[in-house]
Assembly symmetry: C2
Homo-oligomer: 353 residues x 2
């Protein structure tokens, strides 16, 4: 059809499998195994149907203010979106608008090249070193912007803030985005650096450490100028993105610090225990600071283990891509879930030795 | 700062005032004066905090299927977004990707030129005739796509489907979007035309007739091909846009047809009564088929009436723009609200005669 000539064609992004079977163990999308803060129940009960007839606050004021207070910044330094994917997509559209290629690691969050293609942003990838670490010197060449996750996905590797700052120092003339979806599992947030670098955007999410993937809340923090540019584009796209239930329930994720520390602490403890157990089973992996482990077995191909786990109703993530096809990304679930995984893997590997 | 050179600059869109005062009468954003369907309360009570830890279904299956059943189309012909603004912004990005200017009326929904500017889409506006009607012959020239609301906003004028089809017949080689945000207040939906025109996208929303502006649900219907292109772009932007509470509460808007007919019928009845009363007070206006009236007074400037109403805590909408600066857009509220408005206007106008 002739009308198709004007259509923007993209390689359709296929989101990870979201199986929904009773008794399955779902370790494939880095969700939190624990429920969100207990205050959410009361917030649900307080929702009134009649309020839904009215538009939500376009500035998402309650949530923005709560985030600003929590992180000790001004509310003009906070931007809220429909998950960090929404925030990042807006940031790509807003900040990566030059002619030079933007830079990100070759092994990284799989949406970066998708957004670049969607918005026709030229990009180049910088290969991680053989231990999957970022080489800061790669980010010294002329570019149109820089983005990387810290900890990186799907490796789980955390780069200390001095590496982040090294990249920032070499990139004062472009926007640098640090995607901190997994920062709450042991890493140090780059937020203090925004006082020194007005071109640094720090992006986080409620989907992992705050147990609210189903609510879709992500946020960015940076200089007031940076946030204003981002908001201008967002308001040119859709004024009312954060709905009323999200505003009401979202704030609860920030109000119960004790609960937050408890669940993130528990996930970290489970992770460290699972690391030891996996090592004993012959797995190798980078030292993850995220809520997942990116593991490869010394003898059995990842694809085979992936299939075997799936048949046992245990879902992990596997990509058939260069450099990482022999790895499985295993989300840290509850201790019970991880025990079932480890027991199965123990038996499965023993049978093949 | 040098990094600002790469920033996409847009003229920031300013959403309409959302005042929030006790006792105010809010007739400025075309919200529904009645609460959403009674089933929403039960859906709220059924929300379980622990489900929020999991991502929502990226395909928004439950809602998509409910819409498909309701409108008698396949689910592959339905696309759901975060309000119709999200759907329309995605549609602009997907379908208006050619070099020729897209066409829309000069007096219309104020977001069209904002999206065109955001995505650098060339556009030309076609002046409505002196009675604010669309002139279908204006849409016969070469273009990159066509969009118009039916009924139009902020005029409220509905064009019969033969006018819509006349525009479609002249535009087989581009995508034509009919924005039907206000269709449920007396107009006839263009949906049957999608069988004949695979380039027709019909967009609707839950924000007006379904009393759920606060939930952010919009949707598009069209040929499977059209919807697939739109979905491909959407999945390249953000896989998980519709959150779990929205999926759970949204379906309720479609399940209670009797309630839907009752509230839309009541709004239409109130509108017709208010038309008669406004006419007696010396107002003139196009014959609205929407949930608002776009009225001008024969003697008193709109800006003055707007201010007087505001001081009385009654909010309507006024734009200081060519052709429409002497008009007020008055949302149809409850009968009680409209009586207060009419009583005030009666007195206000009498004092000035």
């Amino acid at each position: 059809m002739k009308w198709e000539e004007n259509v923007r064609r993209v390689i359709p992004y296929v989101p990870g499998e979201q199986p929904n079977q009773p008794d399955m163990i779902k370790l494939n999308t880095n969700e939190c195994p624990y429920p969100p803060a207990p205050g959410v129940q009361a917030a649900i009960e307080a929702l009134r149907p009649q309020d839904l007839r009215l538009y939500p606050d376009p500035g998402a004021e309650t949530l923005t203010r709560e985030l600003a207070d929590y992180y000790g910044v001004k509310k003009e330094q906070v931007f809220v979106g429909v998950g960090s994917d929404d925030v990042l997509a807006m940031a790509f559209l807003t900040f990566f608008n030059g002619d030079r290629p933007i830079l990100f690691p070759d092994v990284t969050y799989s949406f970066y090249d998708v957004w670049a293609q969607l918005y026709r942003i030229p990009y180049e990838t910088c290969p991680l070193d053989e231990t999957f670490h970022i080489r800061p010197e790669d980010y010294r060449r002329p570019n149109g912007g820089v983005i990387f996750p810290n900890p990186n996905a799907p490796t789980g590797i955390y780069e200390p803030l001095k590496v982040v700052e090294e990249i920032l120092q070499a990139n004062r003339d472009v926007v640098v985005i640090v995607d901190e979806a997994y920062i709450d599992f042991g890493g140090k947030c780059a937020l203090p650096l925004i006082q020194k670098y007005d071109n640094l955007l720090v992006v986080q999410t409620f989907s992992k450490s705050r147990a609210m993937a189903g609510l879709r809340v992500g946020f960015a923090m940076g200089s007031e100028k940076l946030i204003r540019y981002l908001s201008d584009v967002k308001f040119s796209f859709n004024s009312y993105t954060i709905n009323r239930p999200t505003l009401a329930l979202g704030v609860e994720a920030l109000r119960d610090e004790a609960y937050f520390r408890e669940i993130t602490g528990r996930i970290v403890a489970t992770r460290e225990r699972v690391k030891r157990a996996l090592r004993e089973l012959g797995f190798v992996f980078p030292d993850s600071m995220a809520n997942f482990i990116f593991a490869s077995h010394e003898r059995i191909p990842a694809q085979q283990i992936f299939q075997a786990l799936k048949e046992r109703n245990i879902y992990v993530r596997h990509w058939d891509r260069p450099r990482i096809r022999n790895f499985l990304r295993i989300t840290i679930g509850t201790d019970e879930e991880m025990d079932i995984l480890l027991a199965f893997l123990g038996e499965y590997i023993r049978e093949r030795t």
